[in-house]
Point group: C2
Chain length 355, copies 2
């Protein structure tokens, strides 16, 4: 272990610059009231000695850490297996770097660790949090509320629909989120399949404890209100889940002629099963995904027709909204009440060979 060299102290800087401790402290903490030649002398001494202020003490004064936490409510293994998160992080990282704010990704093994995440958020280590992939029964929103850090959610939080944690109703301002138009995108996908003359259109859902999956299912139902219930198969946004769901679908509804899958990873599992069974895409069964995850959506066989959402832009926008809010803390940015408010980005149908 690399033990510390003795770190240069505030006193050492003061001695080097020939000023008082209080003067150094004021300069280091960005305070005013120090004449420029003196301030310059302090800054030079700081540079020469490699002095780093104790941020724990400093942040008690400045209340700013120049760091933003990102919390993905999934186990670390999923965060690295699903390219969706890498794309969102790329957008966030670019935006935070442009503001010289440190991206602090809090990884966990699973939901049992969320209390610890809440403690870190409450601990005065970050200026705010970006939180995504929330699940309905996750204690994280309550923990975040208690932690009292400004937060922007990725995806509409589901707890507005009757399941809100009691704490969010009283006192707190409304949560702010960035989302894609999941319901509208799903409708466009199903309308496209109807336009191709398909009659037995199935939907393989995402994890229904997430609003993105619920909204895509609602969009499907908007267009197919009388769908045979066996044509709706619950799944979990993964390729393996897509394979399982497609096998079940072929067993129960051998006459299915189109599948709208809740995301591209699910669709990739669907395509694998159809190839296995010797079924042609799109001739026998048309397939549409969701996300337009590249390069995956272009490299499947056949290339995937899908609903595009700009995942990287979602991340960038979340970071921008959080930083903007921090700059106007105490202003009129936060709407009252517990009803979530958010920005919903448009989605567009991208046509390739699979439908």
């Amino acid at each position: 272990m690399t033990e510390a060299m003795s770190r240069p102290t505030l006193e050492a800087v003061a001695a080097r610059a020939g000023v008082s401790r209080a003067t150094v402290s004021r300069v280091v903490n960005g305070g005013d009231g120090v004449r420029e030649p003196l301030a310059e002398r302090v800054r030079r001494a700081v540079d020469e000695l490699g002095y780093v202020p104790n941020q724990a003490a400093r942040s008690l004064v400045t209340k700013r850490h120049d760091a933003v936490a990102v919390v993905i409510a999934e186990p670390e293994t999923r965060v690295f297996a699903d390219p969706f998160f890498a794309l969102q992080l790329r957008g966030i990282s670019k935006e935070l770097t442009a503001h010289d704010s440190q991206l602090v990704l809090l990884l966990t093994e699973g939901r049992d660790d969320h209390a610890r995440v809440g403690r870190y958020l409450a601990g005065g280590h970050v200026d705010g949090a970006l939180v995504f992939s929330l699940h309905l029964d996750d204690p994280l929103p309550v923990l975040i509320q208690r932690a009292g850090v400004p937060t922007v959610f990725g995806g509409r939080p589901g707890w507005s629909e009757g399941s809100a944690p009691s704490e969010t109703a009283a006192g707190a301002a409304a949560p702010v989120f960035v989302d894609s138009d999941n319901r509208g995108g799903a409708r466009a996908a199903v309308r496209h399949l109807v336009g191709l003359g398909r009659r037995r259109i199935a939907h393989i859902t995402g994890a229904l404890d997430q609003t993105s999956a619920v909204d895509r299912l609602d969009g499907f139902r908007d267009e197919r209100p009388d769908a045979d219930p066996r044509l709706i198969v619950e799944s979990d946004f993964t390729p393996a889940g897509g394979e399982r769901a497609m096998r079940e679908l072929l067993d129960n509804c051998p006459d299915v002629d189109a599948v709208f899958a809740a995301n591209d990873l699910t669709a990739s599992g669907v395509l694998r099963v159809l190839r296995e069974r010797g079924l042609r895409v799109p001739q026998d069964i048309a397939v549409i995904g969701f996300d337009d995850m590249l390069p995956l959506a272009e490299q499947t066989d056949p290339p995937l027709t899908t609903v595009r959402q700009d995942i990287e832009e979602m991340g960038r926008l979340m970071a921008r909204m959080l930083l903007g809010g921090l700059d106007r803390r105490g202003g009129d940015a936060a709407p009252g009440g517990g009803e979530p408010s958010g920005v919903v980005l448009p989605t567009t149908l991208v046509r390739r060979a699979s439908a």
Copy 2:
């Protein structure tokens, strides 16, 4: 943005429990000297009110954050593209979770952001740092030394070999690292190729500003001290780099009959080029990789003979050494002097079809 509900204060807890502020503070900070029935009353009030102590203030007292930073000296995009890092993080995450310590991954866009990483490390937000993928000219080691946080490095730091930052020589204890036996593994790979009767054995290196790449090249040279210099091609640990290097190799040395690639990603690029050129593996050219990265090494065509290192175990061991060192701070754990000391894990040759 979710603005804070008013957070319950220390005073509110004291009022609820019917004790003094000082008593609450002592219980919350794990101090002794509070009788059990009283302490229990405080803990109940803390639970009921959802009180979270201000960690910035608290950590000034306890000096412990229950959080460990992980710094990967690569841009965020590479961290997510190279499965090596996901494996190391998996080992680290498991170990930290078992100790209820929060994994704080500090992501950057690139080397320009390392000064900010240094500030976060110095800022009193974490108990220690795990640092990997260091490059020789990276300012990070100096910044980490200045930050004064206990650190374990993944991979032998290269700056012991004459290029050590001046700060590390004086005063600081030796850096501690965990590494794999890169040189021994490279030797075993080349000896295997020699044993197969190969005579024109090439090496495609990794990024030579990293000790892992240097050590593998040294292992190659141990076995092939008189190798034709055109048989050694510098590359960068990526599939695209492997492709470029293999094309160069075939152009300059068309009689090459074996390739030892610095890692499996490089080898996957090599195999792609050989297939393109209609060369058979292993009949025309035998190929060996390094890492035994799964599932990649089993899914290449043909499956890859490679040198196995236990990447996840490296991560786990780094975390264990750091946490162990924290528990005995001030003890005799830290060796003196500036010479790095470390644990080197064995590597083993895994034979599949490519050699």
